[in-house]
């Protein structure tokens, strides 16, 4: 790279500093996913390289999610029993369904990640070791590195925000029943046996009496642990994939910037650089070919990401729609009864937030990949040799098709799909309301 820059013979007033003449040693090691990987290892899904290096540490580490799974199975059975026992009571059913589907979804996400941990690590490696350095090689200034650093900061902020919000909600959810229990001691005897006990985190039913301590404390602790792990899985999984998606969009943006910078690096031929025409043409083509290789690499990365993400997203969208339907049904049930509609609206917003974020950043990828076409066309191609124009035409043809993520065969991850999902939820809400009113 050093030889190339000097061979071009930059003018003194040329703005582009020869960034390509040196590469910082840490350009090769961008830490874009550190926080997410830490979260994942905390959740027990992906072991850190330190743990993975020794086999007995790894065995202990794998015992951690297995234990959680065992606890979850117990809780799941209790929830199913509750579903069966309180069958006629619509309030209890919808409440139970809400938590059941939610926790189930989180555990399935974790199981999927554990089975696909190798693919996820490969994606992290590709992004950090190959794509980002490749983009910075093509850069002619500091802009791209600044952009990558900004994106990394943004994803870290997003991860922290999600972590804090989800776990804040979790704490309020856990704390309330136990506070109620300890402040309402004497009312226990008047509890109706046909209604679920309000002193648990979420509705369960146990064949034995669990309202006296220490059984109550044990059951409550198990519930808390399950819930906590579910929230941790949810946060870690969602944030890691959101980070991937955001960085893919950034890669496309970086490529578009490099294409726009090409004009600065290779000034047009009829501007007086007569003696440098031939080598400049070849240099230009070579640089453009490097851009094309980067484009191909990003497309390949997006495809690999899609392979890992697609089934998970399909399941996630499906469960989110189910949860939204259940919450809207709860709204129907408590229509005009003075119960806090606000609580349900918040629940609906929370359930809709997850898919919304994915669809938002998925649309981002589509738009950025289309912007590559605009950037390619925006250069001074009419001054360049025919060989360049040829390469450009193929690139434009490919870049006209946006790169998009898909959830199964049914959904393309974009805001249009999100609107369709909201439509579906509203349809089911209308049907349920109709059937309930009869």
């Amino acid at each position: 790279m050093a030889g190339t820059s000097t061979a071009l013979g930059r003018d003194a007033e040329c703005e582009t500093t020869p960034q390509r003449t040196y590469m910082r040693a840490d350009d090769k090691n961008w830490d874009l996913m550190g926080l997410n990987l830490t979260l994942l290892s905390l959740a027990g899904v992906l072991p850190t390289p330190n743990i993975a290096s020794s086999s007995w540490k790894l065995r202990f580490y794998h015992a951690y999610p297995s234990l959680m799974l065992v606890l979850y199975l117990m809780v799941f059975t209790a929830q199913c029993l509750a579903l069966y026992k309180f069958w006629g009571d619509l309030d209890a059913i919808t409440d139970n369904a809400f938590t059941m589907v939610g926790v189930f979804m989180c555990y399935i996400q974790a199981a999927y990640a554990v089975t696909n941990s190798r693919k996820i690590l490969r994606l992290v490696d590709t992004l950090q070791m190959k794509l980002t350095p490749q983009m910075l090689t093509l850069a002619s200034g500091e802009d791209q590195s600044i952009m990558v650093a900004k994106t990394a900061r943004k994803t870290r902020a997003l991860t922290w925000t999600m972590f804090v919000i989800v776990h804040g909600m979790l704490i309020s959810w856990i704390a309330m029943p136990i506070i109620q229990k300890y402040s309402h001691e004497p009312d226990e005897e008047h509890r109706n046996a046909d209604k679920p006990s309000p002193y648990f985190c979420f509705i369960i039913w146990l064949p034995f009496d669990a309202t006296r301590s220490p059984t109550y404390e044990i059951v409550y602790t198990i519930q808390t642990i399950c819930f906590l792990m579910a929230c941790l899985y949810y946060t870690s999984m969602n944030t890691v994939f959101m980070t991937f998606i955001i960085h893919t969009a950034t890669q496309f943006r970086g490529l578009a910037m490099s294409l726009r910078d090409m004009d600065k690096l290779f000034p047009a031929q009829d501007m007086g650089l007569e003696d440098r025409r031939l080598p400049s043409g070849v240099e230009l083509n070579a640089h453009f070919i490097e851009c094309i290789k980067h484009h191909q690499a990003i497309i390949r990365f997006a495809k690999e990401l899609n392979e890992v993400l697609s089934p998970l997203l399909l399941f996630y969208f499906f469960c989110s729609q189910l949860i939204m339907c259940v919450v809207t049904f709860q709204v129907v049930l408590s229509w005009g009864q003075g119960k806090s509609v606000l609580k349900f609206v918040l629940g609906l917003a929370a359930a809709a937030c997850g898919p919304l974020v994915f669809c938002w950043f998925g649309t981002d990828i589509m738009q950025e990949s289309l912007a590559v076409q605009q950037a390619a066309y925006g250069c001074n191609w009419y001054h360049h040799p025919p060989s360049f124009k040829f390469l450009l035409s193929v690139v434009i043809m490919r870049a006209q098709k946006p790169v998009h993520l898909s959830a199964g065969m049914f959904y393309e991850v974009s805001l249009t799909t999100f609107t369709q999902m909201l439509n579906t939820v509203y349809t089911y809400f209308a049907v349920l309301k109709q059937l309930y009113d009869e």
Binding site: T4, I289, Q400, M409, T427
Partner: protein, 472 residues
């Protein structure tokens, strides 16, 4: 009289063609013995089966007219009639358009081949044949299960229907109807005895034949699409070796080649020794062979010092050009095949969708009257699932075709086309331009067969259901 040879698409779809011949389609070709006697026997067989189908259908229709007073009966009978109209329509559609079907089946009788890609082609051909046979098996199993389920459910519950009481106009009584699969009028007494047995036998035969007629045609369509998709996958896969092959034809020798030496991403692959005769016929001596490497990047081959400015002999150039020609001709063949399929089957799909729309609307109405999980609910849900499954079958494969054909351009872009010769780059450019628009099957230009169509049908059914529930 012509010599019968089992080759091309007919050979690949042979089990399906045999089944169609056995169930009475007017598929009178593709037999060993095409003498007049045998042909007339087969035509007679097909004719008598068509007669049976039409007569029984007419009897069901007569029954519908007779029971048209009661709304429930009318709706149920209309649904049955519409359900089996598919079979009749498909049967006679085939009979009337035999020529086009034969032409589509004969499209692949003269496929080109190339020694370098024959191994890849035979692999994909075998996959296609395997998928087609598996599909036929699944559809056959589905038909048998549906037929048996229908028969079994006939014997569950009371075989009665409501009619107004002759004495008291405001009341309804239950009158017995024959315990048969389909409500049909017979000129003999079908309630018991010999008449019942005869009716039962006729109906069970008719039921299985009708189900087969409807599904076998759709299966043939889906098999064609499976074959097309595998051909497209084959074309996508040979794009990369073809580009690396033609990278050796680079006619431009740049000075600063060393700085930008392109390294091929693939590992060192030895020359495919699949069709040894074909390659060796072109290479007359070992010297030619050794100069020719499939795996290197573009510019490393330049100064190898053999005949010609680009380091390749005339024979090697011819080989590369023939590879490009093979690709283009095969792609044109695939396009021709897809247009033949659309020509042949498009109108049938249109008729199918029209009839299905009406059927699904009525089924949505019937579904609003479900109160409990009884025989009625089972039959309504069974009809719904079967009708939707029929639509899903061809929508799924139509969608696959669209996806495969639109990914050809992506495959072309993802290989190292920029290192290739001018000829190869022109080839890539034209391929990209041509494959930007996906190939799709359209239902006589009214709609495109894809999963969007299925989603809209499903959405329409749910909408009708909700509207009818509101009106109830």
């Amino acid at each position: 009289m012509y010599k019968f040879r089992l080759h091309g698409l007919v050979a690949d779809m042979w089990p399906l063609i045999r089944i169609m011949q056995m169930t009475g389609f007017f598929l009178l070709d593709y037999h060993e013995d095409m003498s007049f006697g045998w042909t007339s026997i087969r035509a007679g067989y097909a004719g008598s089966i068509s007669g049976l189908m039409v007569i029984q259908f007419a009897l069901i229709f007569i029954n519908l007219m007779k029971q048209s007073d009661d709304v429930n009966d009318l709706t149920a009978n209309t649904i049955t009639v519409l359900f089996f109209v598919h079979s009749l329509v498909k049967f006679f559609y085939f009979a009337l358009r035999r020529g086009k079907f034969y032409r589509t089946l004969a499209t692949w009788n003269n496929a080109n081949s190339h020694p370098l890609f024959s191994e890849n082609h035979s692999r994909h051909h075998a996959t296609a044949v395997g998928s087609m046979r598996r599909l036929v098996m699944y559809v056959g199993i589905g038909i048998i299960i549906s037929g048996f389920a229908w028969t079994i459910i006939t014997f569950v519950g009371d075989s009665v229907h409501e009619i107004p009481d002759p004495e008291n106009a405001n009341e309804t009584i239950f009158e017995e109807v024959p315990r048969l699969m389909l409500r049909s009028w017979y000129p003999w007494n079908a309630l018991s005895g010999g008449g019942y047995v005869v009716s039962f036998v006729i109906q069970i035969l008719w039921l299985f034949l009708a189900l087969s007629h409807a599904m076998m045609m759709d299966t043939m369509f889906c098999c064609w699409l499976i074959y097309t998709c595998q051909q497209l996958v084959h074309l996508k896969e040979i794009m990369k070796p073809l580009m690396e092959l033609s990278a050796s034809l680079d006619t431009l020798v740049p000075h600063s080649a060393e700085l930008f030496r392109a390294v091929s991403a693939t590992t060192n692959n030895p020359i495919t020794s699949g069709d040894g005769d074909g390659i060796r016929a072109i290479y007359s001596n070992q010297h030619d062979f050794s100069n020719f490497r499939l795996n290197t990047g573009a510019l490393a081959n330049i100064n190898s010092g053999s005949v010609g400015p680009n380091g390749l002999t005339k024979k090697q150039e011819v080989l590369v050009r023939s590879a490009i020609k093979y690709w283009v001709e095969r792609h044109k063949h695939v396009v021709r095949f897809v247009s033949n399929i659309g020509d042949t089957y498009g109108s049938a799909l249109l008729l199918h969708m029209l009839i299905s729309t009406v059927t699904l609307t009525l089924l949505a109405y019937q579904a609003t009257k479900i109160e409990a999980a009884n025989v009625y609910a089972c039959t309504v849900i069974g009809y719904l699932v079967y009708t939707l499954a029929q639509v899903f079958l061809f929508c799924f494969f139509g969608n696959r075709l669209i996806e495969e054909s639109s990914s050809v351009m992506e495959a072309a872009y993802s290989c190292q086309w920029y290192d290739g010769s001018e000829e190869a780059k022109t080839f890539i450019q034209i391929v990209c331009q041509q494959c930007q628009k996906a190939m799709s099957i359209s239902g006589a230009k009214f709609f495109t067969v894809s999963l969007d169509l299925f989603a809209s049908v499903l959405g329409a059914v749910v909408t009708y259901f909700m509207v009818l529930v509101q009106l109830n």
